[in-house]
């Protein structure tokens, strides 16, 4: 590579608009390469090439474009795509959204420089995720089981306790019969100081801080920087998992802010918008984040992802949750109705789903009756919920005895199975036994989803 280009400085910025700037008269600039920018005041910023046409480069500036001018802003093209230096020492440290330490500690001496975009994992190299993670939360363990290497997002709404839930999961998650702890990587995108402090305090309280690596882009940090944050976090996660053999739990919050940043750049570039102004490539872009969860054959480590996203107006059909749901392996949906009833965690099991549940449960993993219990809980609760509408019209007395049993079941299910306290860590046995306890409310011949032998075993008086 020609070293002249790398050191050559341009002062030919011709246009600054939104997060973008256009540099003309450049030579040998590569698509996606990183640009170092010096503002007229001498401040240093970073950017990335979004498009090159002959000698014109379109650059997106991560730290914002204010103070840049078209007269003497200096740009230097590095010839490198965005990279992060990774090392074991990163664990327990706090970085900003672009990967620079902000905890006052020393700079990281990298053992490896990795491209933050990573490469797609070869499907033939993947190991199908099948190890049950006990989160201690009944609605997740019993009905939407999380497994190592899964990507399972929390779909929430503003004002719902998704942070508490995520912190509880991070605290309680363990694989039965394997005491290696999860290394947690926490990537914050555009969340408030308060929320960030909540997580930091939580980690500190449980003494997990030295197992947590934090990438922090807060609400008042430049929005465009958010584009890099999850990629930095996941590149580090891949290094921890597949080079160092650790089991990594990655918490990404809040993906909605990430997507807003994507839309901002897209709009600044005058691209043809897709739904609701989000760019048409948002699916591909999100896939580039979510698909970096998984396990690899013959390697010890794993990456389990728990992205959090706040659904605008609680609308699950909004493009952000919608595209996410098409990529992730299920979703945990929080409900405002349950929250209003005072239920914590307000997980609505009906729209929630874990696609990898089948491989992680059953004999030798959890318990042989697990899948039957889960199916039965689902169908009985769904039926009970349907009846509530009917009761609102005709009154409870008009229901048959059978229907009254289902109605009662749905109430008890919410009160006893869904509800648990913020530090209650239920074992999978406790969760399933609780399910059987609830089945006693129903007529026995209605237990069609569980095998007879299990009914015999668990419901004898």
């Amino acid at each position: 590579m020609n070293t002249d280009i790398k050191t050559k400085e341009y002062t030919t910025v011709t246009e600054v608009s939104g997060p973008l700037m256009i540099v003309e008269g450049v030579e040998g600039v590569a698509y996606n390469e990183i640009v170092e920018i010096e503002t007229p005041a001498g401040e240093h910023r970073t950017g990335q090439v979004l498009e090159v046409k002959e000698d014109i480069a379109v650059v997106q500036v991560f730290e914002g474009t204010s103070d840049l001018n078209t007269k003497n802003t200096k740009t230097r093209f590095t010839g490198e795509t965005a990279k992060i230096g990774v090392s074991k020492e990163m664990m327990g440290r706090i970085f900003n959204g672009t990967g620079k330490p902000i905890d006052g500690g020393p700079e990281i001496i990298p053992e490896k420089e990795l491209d933050i975009n990573g490469n797609p994992m070869n499907p033939t190299s993947r190991e199908y995720p099948a190890e049950f993670i006990q989160t201690g939360i009944s609605t997740i363990d019993g009905m939407n089981t999380l497994v190592r290497g899964q990507k399972l997002p929390i779909f929430s709404g503003s004002g719902l306790p998704h942070n508490e839930l995520a912190a509880q999961i991070a605290r309680q998650a363990q694989v039965i019969g394997d005491d290696t702890e999860f290394a947690v990587i926490f990537a914050a995108m555009g969340i408030t100081h308060e929320e960030a402090n909540f997580f930091m305090n939580e980690f500190e309280k449980t003494g997990a801080l030295e197992k947590v690596t934090v990438f922090m882009n807060l609400a008042d940090d430049p929005a465009i920087e958010r584009i890099l944050t999850p990629k930095m976090a996941l590149t580090t996660a891949e290094y921890f998992a597949f080079d160092l053999g650790m089991h990594v739990l990655v918490i990404l919050t809040d993906l909605t802010n990430y997507c807003e940043a994507l839309r901002e750049i897209s709009a600044a570039r005058d691209e043809v918008p897709g739904r609701r102004g989000y760019p048409g490539y948002m699916y591909t872009d999100l896939a580039g984040i979510y698909e970096r969860a998984g396990r690899i054959q013959g390697k010890d480590g794993s990456i389990t992802q728990m992205p959090i996203l706040v659904m605008p107006q609680d609308d699950i059909t909004h493009p952000i949750p919608d595209l996410t749901g098409y990529i992730t392996e299920g979703q945990i949906v929080l409900s405002r109705d349950l929250y209003r009833k005072g239920i914590y965690p307000p997980i609505d099991v009906l729209p929630s789903l874990s696609r990898l549940m089948g491989g992680g449960i059953g004999e030798g993993k959890t318990r042989p009756d697990h899948s039957g219990v889960s199916d039965q809980l689902y169908s009985a609760y769904a039926e009970g919920r349907d009846l509530r509408d009917l009761v609102a019209v005709v009154g409870e007395e008009a229901l048959t005895e059978r229907d009254q049993a289902f109605l009662k079941f749905s109430e008890e299910f919410e009160k006893r199975f869904v509800t648990q306290s913020k530090d209650e860590n239920r074992s999978i046995e406790e969760t399933l036994d609780l399910g059987w306890d609830l089945f006693r409310i129903l007529p026995r011949n209605e237990l069609k989803r569980v095998k007879d032998e299990f009914v015999e075993e668990h419901l004898k008086e």
Binding site: Y31, E51, N122, Y283, L323, I327, T400
Partner: protein, 584 residues
């Protein structure tokens, strides 16, 4: 002649190069110093627009673009079966050998193994006259598939020599003298451009069903061999499980499964599960008849546009050998979105929701490559390609362009319903919205196979389900007790149809595949219950007692009775229905 141009612009997967005069539309090119695979999608003067099938980061203006002289093509021949390819037919196993667990750029691997020797058994003799599409010989490729080596479509004449024994796919296995007197050498390997449909003689009427062993599909909304079906549904409604069930159990000779822009773990699941599942007809592992094309959602987007064509071309190649092929595309929405992304980068005028204006015609061209046909050759073979395309409508909204344009072409519509999925009613095929236009054309097959009452029973069941939905509205207002007894029986039977017939457990060893006979008999039993119960209430029977009959539990567990014991047990259940109804 190789034409060399220079890159002038890079924007994501789309690049512009000048100095490209003389190259052709859809020609394959090598892009940049790292020799990425690309395809020309627009030509204007000296300038070519190229979509690149790999990540373009780090590419600079000024780097070279080389033409290859041919369009994007697939390699067809022994060695293709049981493999997993990326969107442009590079075997992922070989990529792994070269670049490890993550797919690096610019990996160059052959599509099929050129070194491996296959035992070729000729079926023609010297002096035979052959036409394009005729079988020259056979290779036993896997336990399930005899790979037939065909005369390439464009060649016909007299066999001058024919080989036998062990050969690589590049060895000459036959020489054919054409009428013009030239000698054409034929190898086992054929190369075919993906965007061009392979020829056939004529399309036939679809009158044979593709039996899938799935009750909701086979009995209510059947697909014919050579038909096209669409499965639209929001996320979590079970599209992928439905597709995989069809890939596992459909009575096709060959299955091509395209994972287009979907999850990596889903492909891994297929790879880990299929080798251990046996085809109910032949007993061979179903992986031996399956070809996988994987362009997962994080692989380059341009290759997603190509993967559907790669898949259907491979399907056509096996159709030409006389096989019934089933092709699953999961999901065609990702394919359409890939088109939209490329179109956006080309700054084309967008149509509805940003999709290019040619979306409808591309979808139609793809689905029209399905069909039951007479293949080319001296003795036409009957063969088919059935296509099942999953559609992922944003927000589950079926009015969006991809769903609507697909419905205009497909004759079968399996509408997946999120509210059914929430209740864990699987497969979540909505019986009121779904339809199949093949019911009339395939009813004779069913009548011959399972009995003359098939069509009547199916229609009767559909009417019951329709009535139930109307009655439910009344029940919502006044409660079930206000209905007359006979209508309450309808509610009971319809509930049985929904829970005990339509619901099918893909994860149960027995219920995952339900043979046609069993489907028909299960339906007969439920309708018998309906008839007997209606008679009983007319004669003053108590509806509460009917509801509490113990035989209802046995009907509910009918689906779990293994096929071998089924006949005896169902007889017993039917007798009990009549018996117990007498006591109400």
């Amino acid at each position: 002649m190789i034409i060399e141009g220079n890159i002038i612009k890079i924007a994501g997967p789309v690049i512009l190069a000048d100095g490209m005069r003389g190259t052709q539309m859809h020609e394959m090119v090598k892009v940049g110093d790292s020799q990425l695979v690309g395809e020309i999608i627009e030509l204007e003067g000296d300038t070519a627009t190229i979509q690149v099938y790999e990540e373009t980061a780090g590419i600079k203006p000024g780097e070279k673009v080389e033409s290859t002289g041919g369009p994007l093509s697939v390699e067809l021949g022994p060695g293709i079966m049981g493999a997993i390819f990326d969107g442009i037919q590079r075997p992922l196993e070989k990529i792994k050998e070269q670049s490890g667990d993550f797919i690096a750029r610019g990996v160059q691997v052959p599509s099929i193994d050129k070194e491996k020797k296959w035992t070729f058994k000729s079926v023609v003799s010297v002096g035979d006259k052959v036409l394009g599409g005729d079988v020259l010989g056979e290779v036993n490729e896997t336990s399930a598939v005899v790979h037939k080596i065909l005369v390439p479509p464009a060649i016909s004449g007299t066999v001058k020599s024919i080989a036998t024994g062990d050969h690589t796919v590049l060895d000459d296995i036959a020489e054919i003298e054409t009428e013009e007197g030239t000698i054409e050498k034929v190898q086992m390997l054929q190369i075919w451009p993906v965007r061009k449909a392979r020829p056939y003689v004529k399309k036939l009427d679809p009158d044979v069903p593709l039996v899938t062993g799935q009750r909701a599909q086979d009995t209510f909304f059947p697909i014919a061999k050579g038909g096209a079906a669409a499965i639209p549904g929001p996320f979590g409604s079970g599209k992928t499980v439905t597709q995989q069930q069809l890939a596992k159990w459909a009575d096709a000779d060959i299955v091509v499964y395209i994972g287009c822009g979907e999850r990596g773990n889903e492909m891994t699941e297929v790879l880990t599960e299929f080798p251990f599942l046996d085809d109910p007809k032949t007993g061979n592992p179903i992986m031996d008849r399956t070809i996988l094309i994987a362009n997962t959602s994080n692989m380059p987007v341009a290759a997603r546009e190509a993967c559907v064509y790669t898949g259907i071309t491979i399907a056509e190649y096996f159709r030409d050998q006389g096989y019934d092929v089933a092709l699953m595309a999961d999901s065609t929405s990702r394919w359409a979105e890939a088109m939209r992304e490329i179109s956006g980068r080309l700054e084309e005028m967008p149509g509805e929701e940003g999709y290019p204006a040619y979306l409808a015609s591309r979808l139609a061209q793809f689905y029209e490559r399905a069909g039951r046909v007479h293949t080319i050759g001296s003795e036409p073979k009957e063969a088919s390609i059935s296509v099942v395309g999953a559609v992922s409508p944003p927000g589950g909204d079926l009015s969006e362009p991809v769903t609507q344009n697909t419905l205009r072409i497909c004759k079968v519509f399996w509408a997946l319903d999120a509210s059914l999925a929430d209740k864990r009613h699987f497969p979540s095929i909505n019986w009121l919205q779904s339809y199949s236009l093949y019911v009339d054309s395939i009813q004779n097959w069913w009548k011959e196979t399972v009995g003359d009452d098939w069509r009547d029973n199916r229609d009767e069941a559909m009417v019951l389900l329709q009535e139930e939905s109307e009655l439910q509205e009344i029940v919502q207002l006044v409660g079930p007790d206000a209905l007359p007894d006979s209508q309450q029986v309808t509610l009971q039977t319809a509930r049985m149809l929904r829970e005990d017939f339509l619901q099918q457990n893909a994860f149960d060893d027995v219920d995952t595949y339900c043979p046609p006979d069993k489907q028909a008999e299960m339906l007969r039993t439920i309708l018998l219950f309906n008839k007997e119960a209606k008679n009983a209430v007319v004669n003053g029977g108590d509806i509460k007692k009917i509801d509490a009959l113990s035989v209802k539990d046995e009907i509910a567990r009918m689906k779990y009775i293994p096929t071998k014991e089924f006949d005896a047990k169902v007889k017993d259940i039917k007798a009990k229905i009549v018996d117990q109804m007498a006591g109400v």
